[in-house]
């Protein structure tokens, strides 16, 4: 038996070797239930929790209404709160009880109608209504304030018609909300969440795989075979890419079917963008793994540099344009930022090319830089 031997290094990529590596990686994926879990179960759980569970829209807010003296006017005013789907009013008769309830976090706000409320309205007008909101969660407090204003405004209109005294409002605002007319926070949270999930899938799956090979000594054995660094890299990226796209597809299906998030852009743009992002995330994971060389460190770094920045700095929940300038600059190195913007646009606005192209180019650049560093750092040396 004489095996034909060719000496020297062939440029390019050897298909047999690449196939071998991909097959190896796939077996490893299949054998370890945890990587399947991260690709398919994690997105499902998270999307379910998020889609059904998480929302910035306050509804049924418990609120204490202090009515010191019952009168026609007060019950008129109260009717507005009773009808609103935003509030669960609790009627009390003195302010101390209401304050106690607020301190114990049983209510989030207090509306205080004083003893002379009825009288003042009938006589001089300009009756003061005290409104206290729990400001700990400032965002919620502000939304709450808006709701109270709404109830108050409606009440004003109603009373003016009934009493025949015309109410004069100089400037009237007409609101038009684009893309998300019902103001469902789910519509922007779900696409953002997909970006966070994809960051996790991409970076986590690959963060440990090279470090694992160093730790278990398989790298040393690999390195002395004719295999080339670029084949090793491709052999890692391709299988995880396929898996990640599986997770992505699942997420998109859930977003549109279960949560009725509109998909206004075209599907192919969505998938092209996702592929780009996934490659970026995968190469980031590889980079972590190559630099760390130990699974322990790689795992720690992955937790720190993927999830938290994707959660906080990507614009997924917190608005980037309101951050201090330095931090806004910093968000430019967070790949998830571009993906969040791209997804929110493609889902809610449609194929807005200037945004898609800008984000796409940024992602491509990041992927290339990561891959280049990986290639450089992953020498065939101990």
């Amino acid at each position: 038996m004489k095996v034909p031997q060719k000496r020297g290094v062939r440029k390019g990529i050897n298909i047999m070797r690449l196939k071998g590596l991909i097959r190896k990686e796939s077996y490893q994926i299949v054998r370890d239930p945890s990587s399947i879990a991260i690709a398919f179960v994690l997105p499902m759980i998270l999307l379910f929790l998020f889609g059904y569970g998480v929302s910035l829209d306050a509804k049924y807010v418990p609120i204490a209404i202090v009515v010191e003296h019952q009168s026609n006017e007060t019950s008129d005013f109260l009717a507005g709160f009773r009808q609103s789907r935003y509030f669960v009013p609790v009627i009390v008769t003195d302010i101390q009880t209401a304050e106690q309830a607020m301190i114990e976090r049983r209510v989030d706000g207090i509306v205080w109608l004083r003893e002379d409320f009825g009288k003042k309205i009938l006589n001089t007008g300009d009756a003061p209504i005290g409104v206290f909101v729990n400001g700990v969660d400032a965002n919620r407090a502000r939304i709450l304030e808006g709701y109270v204003r709404g109830v108050w405004g409606k009440w004003l209109e109603r009373t003016s018609i009934e009493s025949g005294r015309p109410l004069h409002i100089p400037v009237k605002v007409k609101e038009r909300i684009w893309f998300n007319a019902e103001m469902r926070s789910r519509n922007f949270l779900v696409p953002g969440l997909i970006a966070v999930i994809m960051t996790l899938i991409g970076a986590l799956l690959t963060a440990m795989v090279v470090a694992r090979e160093w730790e278990r000594g398989t790298m040393e054995a690999l390195m002395v075979t004719p295999v080339q660094v670029r084949e090793i890299i491709l052999g890692k990226i391709i299988p995880y890419f396929i898996m990640g796209m599986g997770g992505m597809t699942l997420s998109v299906i859930m977003a549109t079917w279960f949560f009725n998030v509109p998909l206004r852009g075209s599907l192919w743009v969505l998938f092209a963008g996702s592929s780009l992002f996934l490659i970026t995330a995968l190469s980031m994971g590889l980079l972590i793994s190559v630099v760390a060389k130990s699974q322990f460190v790689a795992g720690q770094v992955a937790i720190i540099v993927t999830f938290l920045p994707a959660f906080i700095l990507s614009g997924f929940i917190f608005d980037i344009s309101s951050m201090p300038a330095i931090i806004q600059t910093l968000t430019h190195v967070i790949a998830a930022r571009y993906f969040v913007s791209m997804l929110q646009t493609v889902f809610l606005a449609g194929d807005v090319w200037p945004i898609i192209i800008y984000d796409g180019l940024a992602l491509t650049a990041m992927a290339l830089i990561f891959l280049m560093i990986v290639k450089k750092r992953m020498k065939k040396r101990l």
């Binding site: 759980i45 569970g53 998480v54 400037v171 684009w178 922007f188 795992g299 540099v305 931090i327």
Partner: protein, 369 residues
């Protein structure tokens, strides 16, 4: 027994800190992240970019628009002249809002006819949209009031006087930054504990540990302590930064906060060790840590209020330790709470911690091959 525990604990610390990379990872990122997130994580909107489309030429409209321009929350990006420009501006997110003043605005205003302003908001991020509308609405209300006084109209029958407790300026940093104490403490303790047993199992050193006379309880304590110590130190550091750097007021009792921290660490370390002892490989340990971390953080009320969740999910959050600790941190910081108001928050975390630790200890000897 104490000596054996200390020896194993020292070994854990050596394993964590002799490697330069791992030392860096445990210490540096939490500090950096605290600062960055402290500034980044906020629902306040500053300098929201907006465009003006003014079809009216009167003085009143200019006065009205000047009010918006004077607000620190808004920054004028561009002035447009036609309807068709609105679409591209909002699509590409160059501006978030377009304020459209219709023609005859000034005229209507002067003749006591309703003058209309149209506000077009990008609703992609519904929360931002909502906040933007609130800002604009209060500007309009102010304007209306002034107008009414100036032109001698009668006041409305009743008026709102809104005051917010605990956080008068409604600065959402005050809400988020104390939350970061919980967030980073959780992440760091997970880092330290979630891989610690799995790593030994993979290297075969866990067998070596099991043939020594160390009892599972001792191993458990020794493995838990580093998480505790590192968690406490980092949390203390973060609390100091929150108070002295970010100037978030600390109004409540510090011991109450630390009791909360202690019970929270108990549950975090317990869960970390439990994940670690279920995992056969480090990869599984890491993935387990994530499977725990992500829902825990998202469903904790850190960024989105628990009260907004549907009842089913709200029940689920009762088994989320971070939920309780967040309440403790925020009440101690902002509401000035002390033990008596918080005891209902302590015991669920303590129970979760003890159950998780017991499970971890039990798994040490069970999962052996």
């Amino acid at each position: 027994m104490v000596r054996r525990i200390i020896a194993l604990m020292i070994k854990e610390f050596l394993a964590l800190f002799t490697d330069k990379k791992s030392r860096m990872v445990v210490i540096v990122p939490p500090v950096v992240q605290l600062i960055i997130f402290g500034y980044a994580a906020s629902f306040n909107l500053d300098h929201v970019p907006y465009a003006v489309y003014n079809e009216d030429s009167g003085r009143a409209s200019r006065e009205f628009l000047a009010k918006i321009q004077g607000s620190p929350n808004f920054s004028l990006k561009t002035v447009i002249r036609s309807d068709t420009e609105i679409g591209p501006l909002i699509d590409t997110q160059k501006v978030r809002v377009v304020v459209h003043v219709a023609s005859k605005f000034s005229e209507n205003l002067l003749h006591n006819r309703p003058a209309e302003v149209q506000i077009i908001v990008d609703g992609r991020n519904s929360n931002t949209a909502m906040v933007v509308l609130n800002y604009l609405n209060s500007i309009v209300t102010d304007f209306n009031q002034q107008w009414a006084i100036l032109h001698g109209h009668s006041p409305p029958p009743a008026r709102l006087y809104v005051r917010s407790w605990f956080n008068t300026a409604l600065d959402s940093h005050w809400f988020i930054i104390p939350g970061i104490v919980a967030l980073l403490t959780l992440v760091v303790t997970m880092l330290v504990t979630a891989l610690s047993v799995a790593r030994e199992r993979e290297a075969g050193t866990f067998d070596q540990l099991l043939v020594t006379p160390m009892r599972p309880l001792e191993i458990l304590i020794a493995k838990a302590l580093p998480g505790f110590i590192i968690g406490t130190l980092e949390a203390t550091f973060i609390i100091l930064v929150v108070v002295f750097w970010f100037h978030v007021p600390m109004r409540g009792s510090v011991p109450a906060l630390y009791l909360g921290l202690f019970t929270f660490l108990l549950s975090a370390v317990g869960t970390g060790l439990m994940i670690s002892s279920i995992a056969v490989t480090q990869q599984q340990g890491l993935l387990g840590a994530f499977l725990f971390l992500v829902p825990t953080i998202i469903l904790s009320g850190f960024a989105t209020p628990i009260a907004n969740m549907p009842p089913m999910v709200q029940y689920l959050t009762y088994i989320n330790p971070m939920r309780y600790f967040l309440i403790i941190v925020r009440s101690v910081f902002l509401e000035g709470a002390s033990f008596d108001l918080l005891w209902t928050q302590y015991w669920p975390m303590a129970i979760m911690g003890i159950v998780a630790l017991a499970t971890a200890g039990w798994l040490f000897r069970r999962r052996m091959y």
